[in-house]
């Protein structure tokens, strides 16, 4: 088992190192195959480990990293059921996206850098997934942040892309610092860094400290998972290549925050205040993301806000105390959102880099049936149409919110349910605007799509449709995933009327579909949100960007400008330059004497002699 897991972890790293060292030596085709092969083998290892472990937890240390007195940190792995399904999902989605990338990046000369970062990202993500030590986890946590930064700004020649990368990096740093503080508190409390020890020692810690840790973990998760109030980086992160958006900013990295909360749930669940805050952050973010997605016109930004909203659901699930529901939704979401992004990449490529959903143009449905059907399934799953994966996972989260121990469970449930309606509305708005516009308009030039790009959509489509099977609540039994995660049942609220809630979810989703049909059916193009001001407000993500600009970036820039112009340039530099200016002016005067002409020398000579003679005379006569 250790060998298997080490290979699972290290193969993507080996792939990245190979891309780094040899991308000028080896032919392009071979490098692409190597990149995919590294992830493919890693995926194979994940499947093998999943099958062989049979739900048992295994933990071991690969390497003793730091050992000082009582303190120790090691490169260790904790392979529990949650990590097992997570590793499976990450490697599988990453494999499909690598294959897709080969076709997507065919015209790009910088494939070496691209695949290097992509492989490195998968390695770092697997570190987060598998790490049994919080310090090791933190390494991966920073690593995915770096890879995300590097890939958002992949086309670095355009300044906007670099700025988007910087924005993502800085905003996630805020969360990283919170995580670091939480780690320091663990260390100061003598809990150590090992995940199992931390979770074991948590009940002995004072409640105030637990609450503090809970809030810090929430901030950390909010940074990585783009939750309120740190959500603004994700829409801008769409500046990167579309497969990157699919892998990092939809399927895997943004769920790392949720996964962290799941990993440390035994700590988090000890603090009711923190749990309520988590639930509130999740519910509000879900609503915020859905409302913003409703007004977007850029296809990738619709999906970005949708991701924010869906990750909000997962956080709500954690806050509701149902980590199985959160993980369930995480897995389903990874499948259908990766599909949607990859499909969006196909659409953008087919329509020659057109991002505006109102102008993608007619005839796409007939022209690309291989693209349309998976896209339809993913949209249905995202909207939560009954019997798709999204319906079950979202339903289990809403049920968990309804029966949660957090304060005001009904409020969060109401927000979540309303969001479910909005979700269906914006998903089908997207579908109608892209695929169901009238065929009469003139179609722009269309490019044929490579088969690999549409083929990888199909496995994801099947999962988006049937993924619900892994946690189907049959009768009174809980589903397979819940059983696999070995979650204790006694803490669960059994008075939740699950059937009624499920029916309500179905009605909401179908209601959203109906509304979308009324608004956008038969090729109509219009705003989904009544009122121009409100629509603009939603389109700009509730003006959060402008608010932060006003509150933080503006003052920061003003202070920086003052320190630069007011203090550095006109005070420090001026003081230092003063002696220099003086010497330079004096030198300028002296320079006049060095004409090199005989006359000047003679004048000087005579002047000196006269002065000496005058002095001697004065001395002789005692006048001086």
């Amino acid at each position: 088992m250790p060998t298997l897991l080490s290979f699972l972890l290290l193969l993507p790293l080996a792939g990245a190192v190979l891309q780094l060292c040899c991308h000028r030596l080896l032919p392009r085709r071979l490098l692409e195959v190597c990149a995919c092969l590294a992830i493919g083998l890693s995926c194979l290892m994940a499947i093998l480990a999943f099958v062989l472990s049979r739900g048992r937890t295994s933990s071991f240390a690969l390497y003793q990293w730091i050992r000082v007195a009582d303190f120790q940190a090691s490169i260790s792995i904790l392979y529990d059921p949650a990590a097992a399904v997570m590793a499976l999902m990450v490697t599988f989605v990453a494999l499909l996206i690598h294959v897709y990338s080969v076709a997507f990046m065919a015209a790009d000369k910088d494939y070496g850098r691209y695949f290097c970062y992509l492989n490195l990202f998968v390695f770092n993500m697997l570190v987060i997934v598998l790490a049994g030590d919080l310090l090791f986890l933190f390494l991966g946590w920073e690593g995915v942040g770096f890879c995300s930064y590097a890939l958002i700004g992949f086309w670095y020649k355009e300044n906007a892309n670099c700025l988007a990368g910087g924005k993502a990096f800085i905003l996630t740093r805020i969360g990283d610092v919170a995580l670091l503080i939480a780690l320091a508190i663990f260390l100061a409390s003598g809990a150590g860094f090992s995940l199992s020890e931390v979770n074991h020692a948590a009940p002995a810690l004072p409640p105030g400290r637990i609450t503090l840790i809970g809030f810090l973990l929430l901030i950390a998760a909010a940074g990585k998972s783009a939750q309120l109030p740190l959500s603004v980086w994700l829409p801008d992160a769409m500046a990167g290549p579309t497969p990157v958006s699919a892998l990092i900013h939809a399927a895997t990295m943004v769920t790392a925050g949720v996964y962290l909360l799941i990993r440390l749930f035994p700590v988090l669940s000890l603090s009711p205040a923190a749990m309520t805050a988590v639930a509130a952050a999740g519910a509000l973010t879900a609503l915020y993301g859905a409302a913003s997605a409703l007004a977007q016109t850029d296809i990738k930004r619709v999906l970005a806000y949708s991701t924010i909203s869906q990750v909000g659901y997962m956080v709500l699930g954690v806050g509701g105390g149902a980590i199985d529901a959160a993980l369930f939704h995480l897995l389903c979401h990874a499948c259908y959102k990766a599909l949607l992004f990859l499909g969006a990449g196909c659409l953008i490529m087919a329509c020659n880099d057109e991002h505006d959903i109102r102008r993608l143009g007619p005839g796409l449905r007939r022209r690309y049936p291989l693209l349309f059907w998976p896209f339809l399934l993913a949209i249905a799953s995202l909207a939560g149409i009954p019997l798709t994966a999204g319906f079950f996972s979202k339903g289990s989260i809403l049920a968990a919110a309804f029966g949660s121990q957090a304060a005001f469970p009904l409020l969060w449930w109401l927000l979540g349910s309303f969001t479910a309606y909005l979700t269906a509305l914006y998903s089908f708005r997207l579908l109608y605007l892209v695929f169901f516009t009238s065929d009469h308009g003139k179609a722009g030039k269309r490019r044929p799509l490579p088969l690999t790009m549409t083929a990888v959509l199909w496995p994801l489509a099947v999962l988006a449709l049937l993924g619900g099977l892994i946690n189907l609540p049959l009768g009174t039994d809980s589903g397979w995933l819940t059983g696999f995660l070995q979650i204790a049942e006694e803490g669960r609220n059994h008075r939740v009327p699950e059937l009624a809630l499920g029916l309500l979810d179905a009605l909401l989703a179908l209601g959203g579909l109906g509304t979308a049909h009324l608004l956008f059916g038969r090729g109509r193009v219009r705003e989904a949100i009544p009122g121009r001001a409100l629509a603009d407000f939603c389109r700009q993500g509730f003006g959060l960007d402008r608010l932060y600009q006003l509150l933080f970036a503006g003052p920061y820039r003003a202070v920086a400008a003052f320190l630069w112009q007011g203090v550095d340039v006109s005070l420090v530099d001026a003081l230092l330059l003063l002696p220099g200016r003086f010497l330079s002016a004096a030198g300028g005067r002296c320079r006049l004497w060095a004409t090199g002409r005989l006359t000047t020398s003679l004048h000087g000579f005579l002047l000196g002699v006269s002065l000496m003679l005058i002095l001697v005379t004065l001395k002789i006569y005692g006048l001086w």
């Binding site: 060095a594 004048h603 005579l606």
Partner: protein, 101 residues
Amino acid sequence: MIVPFGHVLALGVLLFLTGACGAMVRRELIMVLIGVEVMLNAAVLVFVAAALHWGQVDGQIFALFIIAVAAAEVAVGLALVLAARNRTGAASRDQFSSLRG
């Protein structure tokens, strides 16, 4: 000595200043050399007068030395002027400014 010592000194100063001004303001190198000669002769005059005034022979010896030095100076100086003129074709001293580097 018939002439008062002070008068001789005044003449010496006058001669010296004349030579110095000549050396300073004239542009031709030969005129500069002549100015320097006049200054040297002012010094000779003062030495001789001082020797007579104090009745000692040292001043007259110095006067002989200065005459010798002046002769040598003229010989070398004229040769230099000629060489410089042949080299550059210029006689005005302001044209020699290679000392500036």
